[in-house]
């Protein structure tokens, strides 16, 4: 087990963690504020990749394609919130889960109806191609560093938004004291739409950034969604700090286990353990703390 391998996998783990963080923020915000379970979140991840791929065919400028895709996702987010999610506020968990599950099915098929069943491929932008030496004797892909850095920046912006802006204050208040926010004359509906669109965009970012590393195909967001749910369980629902902590823990744990377990065990046993590792971690966290690490003691 070489130093190079450990450092490389550690960085991969952090990178995965930051991607999961972008996903988890959307889930935790939407549930924390609107009390809605949104299983269609994985679809936003998938659509991010698809829209970027599509936008990239129209323009050479990566940044422009990125912006176009972002706007498109934002619009989709707004429409989904208004048409499907809004009628679901206050309804049972079963209704919410199934409606958003139905949406996921629709999105998964819709992309094949538009783009066919063959996976699309996104290329790493030329400027970010190749590797650099991050530590003596350790090479690491620039692209992975870039997306990790990008998501850290997004995380920082998010922190500023939530903690230092009026909108952020409304978001924090809206999650605890919906009635007061409404009484203040704030258009709560608009707030909800914005929050949902924000979550969708963040998920789409993750999809766009991971696009060149994974492929862009139907259903790609589903395992990511499930991993995100594990992150939220571990980190605690309703907490952005929890989302970050959970995401990094899951990201690093999953990545390292995929490398270490086959070294410790062989064959079928390790393959089984690798797939199960994150869930075993989740089970362990649940044994210790029902709410997750930063979870608030609420339903």
């Amino acid at each position: 087990m070489s130093f190079q391998l450990v450092v490389e996998q550690l960085f991969n783990g952090i990178q995965l963690g930051m991607m999961l963080f972008l996903m988890a923020v959307g889930v935790t915000l939407v549930f924390g504020i609107m009390r809605v379970i949104n299983l269609a979140h994985g679809s936003m991840f998938m659509l991010g990749g698809y829209f970027l791929a599509e936008a990239s065919t129209h323009t050479h400028w990566t940044v422009l394609a990125f912006l176009e895709a972002t706007v498109a996702i934002g619009l989709i987010g707004v429409v989904v919130e208004l048409v499907v999610l809004r009628p679901l506020y206050g309804r049972s968990h079963l209704d919410q889960v199934l409606a958003t599950f139905g949406l996921t099915l629709m999105f998964n098929e819709a992309v094949t109806m538009i783009w066919g069943r063959e996976p699309l491929f996104l290329n790493v932008p030329d400027a970010l191609d190749g590797s650099i030496t991050i530590l003596p004797g350790v090479q690491y892909p620039i692209y992975r560093l870039a997306i990790t850095a990008f998501s850290i920046v997004i995380g920082g912006l998010l922190y500023l938004l939530i903690n230092h802006t009026r909108v952020g204050a409304l978001i924090r208040a809206g999650s605890d004291k919906r009635e007061i926010v409404q009484a203040l004359g704030v258009n709560i509906g608009l707030l909800y739409t914005l929050v949902f669109a924000l979550g969708a965009i963040l998920a789409a970012f993750a999809g766009m950034l991971m696009g060149p590393l994974l492929s862009v195909e139907s259903g790609i967001g589903d395992p990511v969604l499930i991993m995100t749910l594990v992150v939220v369980v571990i980190g605690g629902m309703g907490s952005i700090r929890g989302a970050l902590a959970g995401a990094l823990i899951v990201g690093v744990f999953d990545t390292l286990s995929r490398v270490l377990l086959p070294m410790l065990f062989g064959g079928d046993a390790s393959a089984a353990l690798v797939g199960m590792a994150v869930y075993i971690l989740m089970a362990a966290v649940l044994l210790v703390s029902r709410q997750g690490i930063f979870g608030a003691a609420r339903g």
Partner: protein, 332 residues
């Protein structure tokens, strides 16, 4: 709907189901077999969702375990249904015990995610077993044998066996939800805080129900393995868990028999639409979304499983949001 009307309704359904092979084409018999098996799983989901207030997104995991146990025993030359099916149920219930003990520590949204996650764990476990075919699974050479004189390879015979089991499970489930155990369970669904306050240690009852429902799903899995003569990981995908939930809501939760009808709707819809378009899942998703957005309550209210003395009814239709949890000293 009075008790007697309901009995007549059920008998009519059974009679209708029994007549399917008379249509002549074995295609319909096989379709009805699938409906019956899915109906059994959907019932198990309803026991949790509609009667206990536990929204599980992981029942497909237990469905799959039942199937794989059947398949594995088959590869070891064990074909007697009296051995294999109880084994499938038992193994599934044991797994449900372990998973339930952990998952039931959570509530609401968390519980949904945790059951989904554990089902994924089961999925990945079987997926990784290359000796069992990984994603593609493996085939089962012959169906389990119930009695020597019954040729289980004959689809009609197999269908009737499945139908009998479905009816037995349905009777058991209907008795269960009206029994003293069932009252505690429904109390938990209505108001778990009050259940504690009158002196019930609610956790063990939820766990018991979780295991019972898991066992039923395991039996259904064993039957499915027999039906298709094949075992694969797609049986326990999370989409499959979602499908089972969809069957419950298409047939109305909290009615037990409604979900069987929901399974019929699902199966027929799948057959009809996939003939017309390769994107049937899109329309299925649309069906679910429309069902939820357009119909707020229960479609089949009249199917509510009432106590024989007619003294209690279940509201059916939609799971109540979890009651606030006592932030205290539950020792379990």
């Amino acid at each position: 709907m009075s008790h007697h009307t309901r009995i007549i309704f059920y008998l009519a359904l059974i009679a209708l189901a029994a007549c399917v092979p008379a249509l002549g084409d074995v295609f319909y018999t096989r379709l009805a077999t699938q409906i019956a098996i899915y109906g059994m799983v959907a019932m198990s989901v309803d026991l949790l969702v509609g009667y206990t207030g536990l929204l599980t997104f992981g029942q497909a995991g237990f469905f799959g375990i039942g199937a794989y146990v059947t398949g594995i025993l088959s590869t070891h030359g064990l074909h007697s249904a009296f051995l294999v099916w109880p084994a499938a149920i038992l193994v599934t219930m044991l797994v449900a015990l372990v998973i339930g003990a952990l998952a039931l520590r959570t509530r609401g949204f968390q519980f949904i995610m945790v059951t989904l996650a554990f089902a994924q764990m089961i999925y990945y476990f079987w997926l990784s077993q290359r000796s069992l075919g990984g994603e593609n699974g493996f085939s089962i050479p012959k169906r389990n044998v119930v009695f020597g004189f019954l040729n289980m390879e004959d689809h009609t015979t197999f269908y009737y066996v499945v139908l009998v089991l479905l009816v037995l499970v349905a009777i058991f489930s209907l008795r269960l939800v009206n029994s003293q155990f069932g009252m505690v369970i429904r109390g938990i669904r209505d108001n778990e805080r009050r259940v504690f306050a009158i002196g019930f240690p609610a956790f063990r009852y939820k766990l018991a129900m979780f295991c019972i429902a898991g066992g039923i799903a395991g039996l259904a899995g064993a039957l499915m393995a027999n039906h298709t003569s094949h075992v694969g990981t797609d049986m326990m995908s999370w989409q499959q868990s979602g499908n089972f939930l969809a069957m419950v809501i298409l047939g109305s939760s909290g009615t037990l028999i409604g979900p069987i009808l929901g399974a019929a709707v699902f199966t027929v819809f799948q057959q009809v639409v996939s003939d017309m378009s390769s994107h049937w899942l899109f329309y299925f998703g649309l069906l679910i979304v429309l069902r939820i957005l357009l119909f707020k309550g229960s479609l089949f209210r009249f199917l509510s499983a009432a106590v024989p003395a007619g003294q209690e009814t279940t509201a059916g239709g939609g799971v109540l949001i979890d009651a606030p949890r006592p932030a205290g000293l539950e020792t379990e």
